[in-house]
Symmetry: none
């Protein structure tokens, strides 16, 4: 194939034409294309209507030589993708008995009988490649048609992601003769987007090429990119990264796909250290994020969700006199929770969180959004008082982000 | 205009074809259409390329009688929307001196001189309606063409939002005669999508109008919709809902925006009852979901995240002999955790969860994904053994969904 590929993406599903859901699968597909220097020229969302879908497939193939579709491969009558592809590309379908067998086994493993409708998922295209889906029931397809390539993936995000990694990326690598765009993402916690912008002024002045800044809840990402031969592109990125690390120092907690919980987990694993939590206003989210990391049972011993004063006293052994004197939302209670967690679970570190998530419970002295976070080690502790007056789930997310970052900084410095 | 309108939306801008940004403007536009019963049949994103844009405008108008475009109205050469519309629809452009004057004043008010390029924003369509933009520099347009309507809006979200409210919504109200669409969503837990489909066979046979089924992790939604006069539409929806409630009975846990955690919270609040948790493999997510609900501090007393056998014994007072005999992942331990949580926190109900989230830790007898859930009350308990062999965060999400549903069913039956 020539170097001038272009791609289109169609997301199929009426639910994405309503006012509540956007297609995010296309971002993962686009990232795969981008690393091989292939531009996405159009993306679209269409409903589960065969005529629309047929037109959309034809229209997309007029504008690009690679087409990705996601969704519409389920077992129900709403799922039209197979039929629309057959019509748009003039393909013939047949039943693959092997797929039916695999599906029946999958259901049997759970003690269920396969519903009759699932047999629709065994319809494949004569002469084309069927892609086994190890994450779900809907197989995908790779269809070659008039020198163009159509990749048909399920719409469930983690299934699509697996298919992109397993089938599309290796094909792109072999077809394009290798990666041509290189990326590096640096991740910053504990700074606002405008604070990051401000500190980048000298960097901007020195370098004309764009630096993409992406702010999400509780973190800011710096996206570096370079095109060309691998060694030169990587050298350029490395030089820029060195400058940015100079500017942001320990504010940079990780790179690329790193999450704060994974970074902290790696640090604990390397050091053979452990952690436990005692949290109030974050209601278990801190423990939950720590345990989102595979292998976290090696360093996370447990946590207490202390939603009442009694629970703080009973589970985290907070002295009732401290609560009486300072109130439940206070620096001394946060420190006592951190120490209590550490002692109760016998860990290297303890994290304590106490605050007012809202919408109720605020006072003039302690408004909604007030939060005290503490990390305790054997003979030291560190405390932050923060104010995140925002919607409850965002408050929980950002507060746990701060708590993980405080632990990270505490570990680095001890 | 007749009742059979349909709409398309085109978002214009190369930045939305990269791996980091999605178009969210279309959600605001879709919400406006939906309340007047107008369906969006397709959405697309195209870059700043005139040929692509011309094709896309024509393609969209073949599939709908209302088209909304957002973006590409800025002053730079990247901004092609005006030229593409002129070409696609055969319109003539002229300079509107009034716009130039207004722009110059706008710049002067900030002490700036208007850059020459901004004059491009004074190009309007002969015989069509120009829409003043009080939030920015780019005017919008309402173009009538062959009985179809094209609304051209800027891409900056708060500018677009203002234009939708100021121009589009009033026009929709007058054009549709106030006709509205009414919706009702029924939410089901504890069934697979295909299981739901199977049970709907008689319903499908009896009713030709579409019922949208939406499956997300751990729940399935049935979307009912009816168009027309309010009282008739609502009566139709009520009749269909009654039939569906007959079919699914207690499997339906809520409606519309309900979440399982909010429904359980409402039940506990109404009864003046309380709950506590002792969870292992879900790592705090169960407590976190319960505390996502505003006001949950009234009925959630706390939780223990017991990631080790020692924590199960210490925090949830599980008898070590039970663990020794049955292993940590077993029915007796789940029940002991539920009872332990209930006693420790002095609550009406306790929930216990123990399982193997993976990817490590599975055995032949207890493979990855095995989970035991129990709910305990004063003198009864209920237990489920489930198998969710899937990626870790999905496992946690679905397992907590099951745990909340078990609590709901336990409360209903006691």
């Amino acid at each position: 194939m020539s170097a001038k590929h272009s791609a289109s993406i169609i997301a199929i599903g009426s639910e994405m034409l309503g006012p509540t859901r956007v297609d995010t699968n296309s971002l993962k597909v686009t990232a795969a294309f981008e690393s091989f220097g292939i531009g996405v020229v159009r993306k679209s969302v269409v409903g589960d209507t065969q005529d629309q879908l047929v037109d959309e497939i034809r229209h997309s193939l007029e504008h690009s030589d690679i087409l990705i579709t996601s969704g519409g491969l389920g077992p129900t009558e709403d799922d039209m993708t197979r039929e629309a592809l057959a019509e748009a590309l003039g393909l013939t379908m047949e039943v693959d008995a092997g797929i039916i067998e695999r599906l029946e086994k999958r259901f049997a493993a759970r003690g269920w009988v396969m519903p009759e409708v699932n047999k629709r998922q065994a319809n494949v295209f004569v002469g084309q490649t069927t892609l086994t889906n190890e994450r779900g029931t809907a197989p995908g397809f790779h269809i070659e048609h008039d020198g163009k390539h159509v990749w048909v993936f399920p719409g469930v995000p983690h299934e699509l992601e697996w298919m992109v990694t397993t089938y599309l990326t290796p094909w792109l690598a072999s077809t394009t003769g290798g990666q041509s765009r290189f990326r590096r993402v640096l991740k910053i916690a504990g700074m606002t987007e405008s604070g990051v912008e401000e500190r980048l002024k000298t960097y901007y002045a020195a370098h004309p090429e764009p630096l993409t800044i992406l702010a999400t809840s509780g973190q800011t990402e710096l996206h570096l990119a370079a095109d060309g031969a691998e060694s030169e592109a990587l050298a350029l990125i490395a030089a820029r990264e060195a400058e940015l690390r100079e500017l942001f120092a320990h504010k940079i907690f990780g790179v690329d796909d790193d999450t704060l919980e994974a970074v902290v987990g790696r640090m604990l694993t390397e050091r053979g250290e452990t952690v436990a939590t005692a949290e109030s206003c974050t209601g278990g989210l801190l423990a939950s994020r720590i345990t989102d990391v595979p292998g976290s049972s090696a360093y996370f011993m447990g946590g207490a969700v202390c939603y009442t004063a009694a629970a703080k006293i009973d589970l985290a052994r907070v002295d009732p006199a401290i609560i009486a004197e300072h109130g439940e939302v206070s620096e001394p209670v946060a420190i006592a929770l951190a120490r209590g967690a550490r002692e109760r679970f016998g860990t290297t570190y303890g994290i304590g969180v106490t605050g007012i998530a809202g919408p109720g419970g605020g006072t003039e002295a302690k408004p909604v959004g007030t939060v005290h976070i503490a990390v305790a080690g054997a003979d030291a502790h560190k405390h932050w008082k923060l104010l995140w007056p925002m919607e409850r789930s965002l408050f929980k997310r950002i507060t746990t982000q701060s708590a993980l970052d405080l632990l990270r900084l505490f570990i680095v410095r001890t």
